[in-house]
């Protein structure tokens, strides 16, 4: 599947967090299987939506892709370079091309820095712009995300949630990256503000040919913004395909349940829908179920689901699914 315009290829990525006991002599007594062998690729200028419920490992995936966490195993090839194998100055150089927008606009901006310092920091760190140029660059960036350039001397607390998220977007854009990992960038915002930020992200993508890895739990928003969608459950990918295909013909029982759980803002359409209500909660990633991770909540699980882990196979062209029973 090697094509030139694939900008990010993640192969069999694993990230386990150790659980230790003891204060002085630490002994590992287990591991949180946050991400357990996932593979996907994203083409330049496209958006891959990564959806799943809280604790399924989607944020860990995003952070491991950017090497904010070093993976336990697997490879992350970005722009032709395997990020897992490089470190130090080499990695720092690559970081310019990949940025992140965080979920909580209240916690991800340093309250003691002005907006100008926040947005311009990466320019200073990477020595990209001279001191006297920085001010102008920051002003341009603020304008780009729809903020008044005069705000650059203000502090984050003077802004509303939506405006803060715009600051976060401006900061991510400062180094003119190729890839931006958006980690639930809108879930802390009000509905009317969410649409503003999503529209902004779409405009910027067109303007700069940006590639997004868009992490969210809101399937309807992911459907709106993504070209391809990957569904994650308890550290593994269960389904990945083109957005329209996923929403019209979901093959994995988890995707089907997830889609049917989303309320539709239309009482007539809502009452006509077939609902699959999943029972129980997501199991703990410390001790995930054997075989298929989803089998404990799956409405159609059989004996073989407990025995072997289903392969992530291409059941239809460009439609991957990890289920023994999907046809």
């Amino acid at each position: 599947m090697a094509e030139d315009n694939v900008i990010l290829r993640v192969d069999n990525l694993v990230k386990h967090f150790p659980i230790t006991r003891g204060i002085i002599v630490q002994k590992q007594i287990g591991a949180v299987h946050a991400v357990d062998g996932i593979s996907f690729e994203v083409k330049r200028g496209e958006t891959l939506g990564l959806v799943g419920e809280s604790g399924c490992g989607k944020s860990t995936t995003g952070r491991t892709v950017l090497q904010l966490y070093r993976p336990t195993s697997g490879s992350v090839v970005f722009d032709g370079v395997d990020l897992v194998k490089i470190k130090g100055e080499e990695l720092r150089h690559m970081r310019r091309k990949m940025q992140m927008i965080f979920q909580d606009p209240y916690a991800s901006l340093n309250p003691r820095m002005t907006v100008g310092e926040i947005v311009g920091e990466s320019l200073v760190v990477h020595k990209i712009a001279k001191k006297n140029e920085i001010e102008e660059r920051v002003a341009n960036l603020l304008e780009l995300v729809g903020l008044n350039p005069a705000f650059s001397s203000r502090y984050p607390h003077e802004f509303s949630g939506g405006q803060r998220q715009r600051i976060g977007v401006a900061r991510a854009l400062a180094l003119q990256p190729a890839l931006i990992v958006c980690d639930e960038p809108i879930s802390a915002l009000d509905v009317s503000i969410q649409a503003q930020v999503v529209n902004l992200l779409e405009d910027l993508q067109k303007q700069f040919n940006l590639t997004y890895l868009f992490i969210a739990h809101d399937l309807s928003m992911v459907r709106h913004i993504s070209k391809h969608v990957a569904v994650m459950y308890l550290g593994v990918l269960v389904e990945m395909t083109d957005r329209d295909e996923l929403y019209s013909q979901p093959l994995h029982p988890y995707t089907q349940a997830l889609l049917s759980a989303i309320p539709i803002p239309d009482p007539v359409a809502d009452s006509k829908r077939q609902r699959t209500i999943l029972e129980g909660d997501v199991p703990s990633p410390v001790n995930p179920p054997s075989g298929c991770r989803f089998r404990t909540r799956c409405p159609i699980a059989e004996a073989q689901c407990a025995e072997s882990r289903p392969e992530f196979r291409e059941l239809r062209p460009a439609h991957f699914v990890a289920c023994h029973l999907a046809k």
């Binding site: 419920e53 809280s54 509303s160 939506g162 405006q163 009000d190 509905v191 009317s192 503000i193 969410q194 649409a195 503003q196 999503v198 529209n199 779409e202 739990h217 399937l219 309807s220 928003m221 459907r223 709106h224 913004i225 929403y247 349940a257 997830l258 889609l259 049917s260 759980a261 989303i262 309320p263 539709i264 803002p265 239309d266 009482p267 007539v268 359409a269 809502d270 009452s271 609902r275 209500i277 999943l278 029972e279 909660d281 997501v282």
Partner: protein, 329 residues
Amino acid sequence: MPDLLLDVQGLETQFKTPDGVVYAVNGVSFGLNEGETLGIVGESGCGKTVTMLSVLRLIPSPPGKITAGKAFFFGQDLLQMSNEEIRHVRGAQISMVFQDPMTSLNPVLTIGLQLTESLILHLGMDKKQALVRAAELLETVGIPKAKDRLSDYPHQFSGGMRQRVMIAMALSCSPQILIADEPTTALDVTIQAQIIELVKRLRDELGMAIIWITHDLGVVAGLAQRVIVMYGGYIIEEAPVNELYSNLQHPYTIGLMGSLPRLDEEGHHRLISIDGQPPVLYEKPNQCPFVPRCKYAIERCWKENPALEMVGQNHRAACWVDTKTGSAR
């Protein structure tokens, strides 16, 4: 009109803050029929929670103050009751489920103790009876091995399970009205679907009236019979659920619907965003509170605040403009 179970008239609530008085609720009137499910929709800070907290007199005072209004429940004005009297209503006849199941349970008390508290207080049960009833309640809300779990602490339950416990607690005295304040916002979608299904079942079994506060127009569509939309401390639109979704009248409601991406949408549309942000009202506006963000605004909107008026069958909206034609009403 048939007798209303709850009849709120002209409710006004204000908060004193260092920056000045905030007008959180400004003359809100609505009724609730027996067995009806009413959805209250709005963004954060629109006054939806404060309205319901005011009705139950749970507003911390100071800084909060209910400055005007009446709230009749079985012919009695809740806002005029003595503290002792309202205590018999709260939790017994009108009960509330709060948004965050992680913080609204006391972490150092067992679930059993927290569940039996209101049974002992309101229904005069002794401890033994109360524990038996508490186990029944947990079973009703779908918690397996209910009896054994009474001695567990909140941290031993997952988010969805905690919200079930909260619902069990709210139902313990068979209330006439259940007020649910964003009960599913902190939960995952599959768990949200479980809780909504549970509430629907309990509603059919127990026949109580429900006020469901949310920012999610999708949740309300499948649950409520009537919907109130709030903005800046005012009710700006009110209608039966089918009427509302098929015939949006107020520009804010139209904007809110437009900014939702839909699972069943065809093709790719740009989302309609509402520019600007919701107001914090430091003074009562003498213009429409939505006018700075409104696409339909005409001159009159900047000069007078529109009242809530009938615009169709049981459909009320507060707008000077007929959004269907774009001209003045």
